[in-house]
Amino acid sequence: MNAPFFKFEYFNSEVSLIIAFIIGIAFGIALEKGGFGRATILSAQFYFTNMRVLKVMFTAIVTAMLGLYFLSVFGFVDLSLVYLTQTNLLPMAVGGLIAGLGFIIGGYCPGTSMVAVATGKLDAMVFVSGMIFGILVFGEMFPGIENFFNSGYMGNVTLPSYFNLSYGLVVFLVVLMAVGAFTAAEWGEKKMAAKSGKEIL
């Protein structure tokens, strides 16, 4: 069998839209179950009182990364066909910074705001309208910042190729880093909880 299935044309793009919908449902369920539909939980990350965001996000990354890695090594998946966004170093760094500010000020990120909207949170709806506004501003400003937007182009670069390490080694280091982060997060949460006497959701 060859994967990614779509890239080998096992089905056409209309079917892929249905698949998108189904995957989206699973995505939404996972986010909601994780408590990510709530800004109070999401923002608690940045006050060290509830490190769910870190835990869920990095666990997800590690899971998918390991899955993809081993499936590729066994020849089941053609990793070179999996989409890789190009890297534009400075714009992504700056964009990340701005997005981080938006995250703590607004309390959501695009995906989680959808879940929050679906569970009736009014502030999430305001957040989404804010996002639309932000995208519009970006679009209108685009001709002026187009050069910056395209600057720092590095093509499609992965961590292994950039640091000249084997893919497996980077996988191992990421797992190590994640488990280390989780350990620190658990320790930090307990410390904060003991200090304030509040329960961890």
Binding site: V62, L66, S72, G75, G168
Partner: protein, 217 residues
């Protein structure tokens, strides 16, 4: 050992599994896999039926004039030859690099070189990598020069053939060539380097099909 495992909390179990997998990953090797391919020879033989995978030079000329952009034109020759003269709108992927190119499987790819040999080789390589829309420019650049750049007037031609020739005269002019009305002129074959702005530029790699919708988030 078993008791040790059973007494670990769920979280610790998960952490152990993750670390173990990570450790295995250290030694498991390169995920970009080998370069061996499985070839379904019946499949490939079948696709040659009816010359369905060939493109005629005049057809291609037509597409270029009509500014059709739904295909990728690939010049398999060396970069020097590419820079000397190439069919407008083509990108240079020398044959040795064809298997590591960034061509997408869902694109229509038209291959050409000086004659049919290299384009056939590239065709086979791409077909065995399960590319579906691979085509050979029948006759390659030789035929392109003969039929498109320097078309010869038909001797004893009927009305249809003469009309066809008139059309080819315009096509030849478009590509910077010249129709041959006298057989002796065929000797002075100059390669006319097209000033690329007039007919279309060779593609650069960063935008993968500017006109298509972006795949991303």
């Amino acid at each position: 050992m078993k008791i040790f495992w059973a007494e670990l909390s769920l979280n610790k179990k998960l952490a152990t599994i993750a670390l173990t997998l990570g450790l295995i990953a250290l030694f498991a090797g390169d995920p970009y896999g080998g370069t061996t391919i499985k070839v379904n020879e019946k499949d490939i033989a079948l696709s040659t039926v009816g010359n369905a995978d060939k493109v005629i030079v005049t057809e291609l000329a037509d597409w270029i004039i009509k500014d059709k952009s739904d295909f990728e034109l690939v010049d398999l020759r060396s970069e020097e030859k590419f820079n000397e003269y190439t069919i407008p709108g083509s990108q240079c992927i020398p044959l040795p690099q064809i298997s590591s190119s960034e061509l997408q499987r869902n694109q229509k790819i038209v291959l050409f070189s000086d004659d049919d040999v290299e384009s056939s080789q590239a065709w086979f390589i791409l077909k065995s990598k399960k590319y579906k829309g691979v085509y050979i420019l029948d006759g390659g650049l030789e035929l392109w020069k003969e039929k498109v750049l320097f078309p010869k007037a038909p001797i004893n031609g009927g009305k249809e053939e003469l009309a066809e020739f008139e059309k080819m005269k315009e096509v030849a002019k478009y590509f910077g060539g010249q129709a041959q009305t006298d057989s002796s002129v065929a000797e002075t074959k100059q390669e006319i380097k097209l000033p690329t702005p007039t007919v279309g530029t060779t593609k650069t790699t960063p935008p993968t099909g500017k006109k298509k919708k972006r795949e991303g988030c």
